[in-house]
Symmetry: C2
Subunit: 255 residues, 2 copies
């Protein structure tokens, strides 16, 4: 994260749910959001997973919202007893939880008469001062309060919610990426790579080894907002690989 | 996490690496470790992802190791400049980083003469007082210091390292799980489910909706250490589903 300009927008992702921590559900929301935010020029600087425990959710929301530009939460906004995200976020902001009138109207319009029971009405609860996040899939909305965006945990619903709020987010200069892939082991490249990193402090260089077809190789990923600088650093890494007898393959993107 | 006995061992997982936060690499270590630890009777209570930034790694290690029984880290123990986990953990424990003699011997035995360069030798660094974690795949070891277990980020290597340390971990009473699956929407079940949860406070009940073949359904997952209590709660949930006109499918495990 060496290249993060001091004023670049940052983000944290907070995944809420016992099912992630018990291993039942393999979280895919973090990776999806990270990729989308990267493309928007917003740097994800931290992610946390917490259980459906009020004190833990409140503490995490407060730790993250005071440190980063944006916070995105997933999970815990359904109708059941273990869905406690709305009340936790209200408590984190020290505001009351209320039944949001617009959210209630949306649920009333969605459910057949008599089907909007007390449990489902809980999905209309939001902290005072929150604005709704549309849910085109199953109607029960998410909400935003301050810099915290509260979304569903079901991936398809979360994706639709994020697509709705993406245009409201202020991105920084977009991050560009190049990947130099080769079949040298990273231990051979490490010293030269460190020298390239020192020459290009505004480029973040990561080294990701892989093992494929009985061979060790490495993807050297360079990320920066300044494209000419990125190209120069990429050329230096490719030269390094060639100088060590490798055959570098350069690709646009994180590889 | 309502059922966690006060003395049950807990754990946190700390994933270290820019590549997870940029979306380049989709983390699978969290889910894998969560499942393994659950089976050992160790409750994962928190997970964090932090970038390759020293202050962030040190702060996360200290926040987690003081709160939970065990900490497991993945990532940042290779030979390149962005591999900073060992020095961060040393700093978190306020002990010097040293070249571990046994780790050096293992690397010397592994690499052909002349191949153990300065970068690779960095992989022998560990905090003073650490004990090594075997790496049967590529030799460069992880280490344990206090309650913190430092492992590789490459999944196949991490799995092998964890298999080696698993017998050294002290698990609590194993957590058992049952899943009641049905095609009712969770909003119909929520109120009755909350009443079952109140009747069985030692059973953790989670509600995980799904959308499949154009139908909404829900997996109701019950977890507890006390099997008779778990069976009673599972029967109550199945009865609830039947009473609402549903056709419950009961399975062992988290479904």
């Amino acid at each position: 994260m060496t290249d993060t300009p001091p004023d670049a927008p940052t983000a944290a992702i907070l995944v809420i749910g016992n099912e992630i921590l018990s291993g039942r559900t393999k979280d895919a929301n973090l990776g999806w959001l990270a990729e989308r935010l990267f493309a928007l020029g917003i740097r994800v600087r931290e992610a946390r997973v917490v259980p459906d425990v009020k004190a833990d959710v409140v503490a995490a929301v407060n730790a993250l919202r005071t440190r980063w530009t944006y916070v995105f939460t997933t999970g815990g906004i359904g109708p059941t007893h273990d869905d406690i995200t709305a009340e936790c976020v209200a408590e984190a902001f020290s505001v009351p939880l209320e039944q949001n009138e617009e959210a209630r109207r949306r649920l009333e319009a969605h459910y057949p008469p008599g089907q909007l029971n007390a449990a489902r009405l809980r999905m209309a609860n939001a902290p005072v001062g929150a604005t709704l996040i549309d849910n085109p899939v199953s109607k029960a909305p998410g909400f935003r309060i301050g810099n915290v965006h509260v979304m569903a945990g079901v991936p398809s619903i979360m994706h639709a919610m994020f697509d709705g709020i993406a245009p409201t987010l202020v991105g920084g200069p977009p991050m560009h990426a190049r990947t130099v892939r080769c079949l040298l082991p990273e231990g051979i490249i490490a010293e030269g790579l460190s020298a390239v990193q020192d020459r290009f402090p505004a480029v973040e260089i990561g080294s990701y080894p892989f093992y494929r077809n009985q061979s060790f190789g490495v993807s050297l990923v360079l990320r920066a907002t300044d494209e000419p600088e990125l190209e120069a650093a990429t050329a230096a890494v490719a030269d390094l690989v060639r100088g060590l007898g490798g055959d570098p393959v350069v690709e646009t993107g994180q590889g």
